[in-house]
């Protein structure tokens, strides 16, 4: 009973403060309030939902959605926008944690079968989605009268974006549920592998659309751009991770402060240099954990424990920025694509598991980790929409609706799968695990 009362007190305080005789310009100073309300109220909402056997993550998302600008407007539009400011930091920290969790030595024996599984899943999704989009093009709300070459390029672009997953949400669910085990590791590896492939495919698709649409190809070569984004990101992250390791070993003071600085560097500087922050932060974590690991698990545990507020804010911001109005306009088509995508993930995962010799939870539930879509997909959609405004707007609306559906369903499914695999909470139990 204490928690519901505290939740009501926090919401009442926020409501009173926002409705009191606020000074001019108050909306500009809304961030702290949004942060406080989101942290306490969303967390308590997540805990309450957990009692209803639903994942906390869903509670955070639903809190963001219900209290967000589209429904109750307790977290109004400026608040939601300010919460997004933290997302860059959140994404870097989440990927850094994932890097710290990946032990290369432990993963090495299974790397080949995981790569085979990932290749089959992705090939299934790409081939079938492309075929479906090609044939169904006249009924899709994006440039239905496009000539065949442009139609093929656009179908390929749509395929690459629809087939994308969300490494951030996947890692965030793992971190939040403190899961560890074979299923967790395989899911993470597949999603990260898919992220690398996505960057290549999307770059290729954009180039094809430019070429078939009569525009000029970019000055920078396709391979150069993709290499910079993939290999460059990993190299940049490795440098940051190695410097952080040096700092830990030689100075080792004010580590919290330096860690925050590292995450800022990985999110902001990486973007400024055209790197992919998720990959850079992942590489940094990998180097810290696998090249010169600090003694004991203190750093890993501290980072994981400190990540909870970041994860809550990440999901609340995602919920508050879900554009439910896009669902109203284009919901049925998006729903059909979401169902098709889910079926393909299921089929691809089963086929891949059989071919690569995977069994157990990986075979039966891998598809559940492949449903989430979030920031990466939205970012790619925006890039395409900005460059091709003629058909970009309906393309963006369709993708935003699809992301809204998958964002709501994906984390629930994945957390459910983690629970059924018996891997939730195993991260804490793994402290004594030999590396």
């Amino acid at each position: 009973m204490r928690r519901p009362i505290a939740l009501l007190i926090v919401l009442a305080l926020a409501w009173s403060v926002v409705n009191i005789d606020a000074p001019e310009g108050a909306p500009l100073r809304v961030t702290g309030l949004a942060l406080g309300v989101a942290l306490i109220a969303a967390y308590l909402a997540g805990v309450l939902l957990e009692r209803l056997k639903l994942p906390k993550v869903t509670g955070y998302l639903l809190f963001g959605l219900v209290c967000g600008p589209y429904l109750l407007n307790i977290i109004n539009r400026p608040m939601a926008r300010e919460l997004q400011v933290f997302n860059g930091l959140a994404v870097a920290l989440i990927a850094f944690i994932a890097g710290l969790e990946i032990n290369a030595a432990r993963l090495r024996p299974r790397l080949a079968s995981i790569a085979q599984l990932g290749a089959v899943v992705l090939a299934t999704m790409y081939l079938v989605l492309f075929a479906v989009f090609w044939f169904a093009w006249p009924w899709l709300p994006i440039e239905p009268d496009a000539p065949p070459a442009l139609r093929a390029a656009l179908a390929f672009l749509l395929t690459s974006v629809v087939a994308s997953f969300s490494p951030t949400v996947t890692i965030a669910v793992v971190a939040e549920s403190r899961s560890a085990g074979t299923y967790t590791e395989t899911s993470l590896a597949i999603v990260i592998l898919a992220d690398l492939i996505l960057i290549l495919m999307f770059t290729l698709a954009m180039e094809l659309v430019r070429w078939t649409g009569g525009g000029s190809a970019q000055q920078v070569g396709l391979l150069a751009a993709a290499s910079w984004e993939i290999i460059g990101s990993l190299a940049f992250g490795a440098i940051v991770g190695a410097l952080f390791s040096f700092y830990l070993r030689s100075i080792g003071r004010e580590v919290t402060l330096v860690l925050v600085g590292v995450c800022l560097l990985l999110s902001i500087a990486a973007r400024a240099l055209h790197f992919e922050p998720v990959l850079a932060a992942l590489a940094a974590g990998l180097v810290v954990e696998n090249v010169a690991p600090p003694e004991g698990d203190a750093l890993k545990r501290a980072v994981e424990r400190g990540a909870l507020p970041v994860l809550v804010i990440f999901f609340v911001a995602a919920g508050a920025s879900l554009q439910v109005d896009a669902l109203a306009t284009i919901g049925l088509v998006a729903l059909a694509i979401a169902v098709l995508r889910g079926v393909l993930a299921w089929g691809g995962a089963h086929l891949g598991s059989r071919l690569s010799g995977q069994d157990g939870p990986v075979s039966s539930m891998l598809w559940m980790s492949l449903i989430s879509q979030a920031g990466v997909t939205l970012g790619l959609t925006l890039i395409a929409a900005q460059e091709f405004p003629t058909w970009g707007v309906p393309f963006q609306t369709l993708m935003v609706a699809l992301i809204a559906i998958n964002q709501l369903i994906g984390p629930v499914l994945f957390r459910n799968a983690l629970a059924r695999a018996g891997e939730i909470g195993q991260m804490d139990g793994g402290a004594a695990r030999p590396h």
């Binding site: 009442a12 961030t31 702290g32």
Partner: protein
Amino acid sequence: MKRQPLRSRELGGADPLDTQLGLPQQSLWQRLKLSRLAPHLQRRAALGLRPGIAPAVVLVPIGFLLGPQVTNVLSIEVLAHLQVGISIGLALLGIFIGRALAREAHHLRALAAGNIESAMTIGIVAVALWFLITRSQVPVGADAVLVALCLAVTAAASSGHTADPRSDPAARVATRVADFDDLLLIAVGALLLVFIRGSYGSFSPALALAPVGIGIVVAIAGLLLFEHSDGESERGLLVLGAVALLGGASAYLMTSPLAAGLVAGLIWTLVPGRADEVLTREAHKLQHPLIALLLIAAGAFFVPHATVWWLLVPYVLFRLVGKILGAVAAAAMLPGIRTFELAGYLVPPGVIGVGFSLTFMFALPSDAGRIVVSVAAAGALLSELLGMFLIPAAPHVDGTAPPAPPAPAGGATA
């Protein structure tokens, strides 16, 4: 139980993560073969001087270098968005002050001495600066009385953090005085913010009580949540949320986050239960990053304008005069400390004055705000440097090296 020194209000000893990781056995200086510098520093200590670098001395210049005046890494737009961290940092400082007051309030003489000292400093600096501004007609971008009062409040803060209160009884008394002197300046600062709002727009007088209301409501929510929280992650999240609510709600209404934090800190400490203990352990993890943010932001907002240079020297000098005269009045009430010792310990201003200047900056018109924060930040830096030379060397009780930094966790209980 082991008593945590009061100075932990601002820095709280080593960063908890550093302690968990274990410091490298050899310092960087030793690895770089520069350890021969150490005897020189010790010699200074033997001469009666205690070298110690306060955070302001390092972080304010770093902030200036990163700020719009030099590299523009922290541009004006970015700094505007850092306001959230500044409000949260101030609320956290308020909580620690509230805790210190609640624990030490039975030292009534020190309480009275601290507030007399701070009232004298506020009075002396305010009158002196007001006189200088009005006589010289130097442009300060707002009403001279307001600017002088804002600067006086920032000047009144003290922190004995370069002293070591565990090894020196005089330092212990001085640190207590430095803690208590914050009470008056937080009250004056909160009222001043209401007055500033009244000068530049419509306001409701009831807002003067807003920090108290915010502090009480968040404290109640904290009491309901902290004690029954499960696990370290959850406790950390709830404490961060409570501090963010204190800072965020205060910033939204343009009232004092320090005052809201002070009220909440008092309640959490005085009400029986473990809320205070949970709060201390978790808030300690936020302390260093937030203090660093406050000082870096202050440095970044610094403008090297003629008015700032014109006000800086009188600010530091009259602050010193205020502290000396305040120490004369305060030392007479306190056994166990001599006037010059107390004055020396009260010279370092710590972070609170800089924090207050940032709060004023967001409330005052643009130019006046930048002047206040610039003078306060540069004044804090100069006063910290002065403090390095004025604080007497503390004889160690056992004649050995100073004790190691305190353990961050539960040792906070008195």
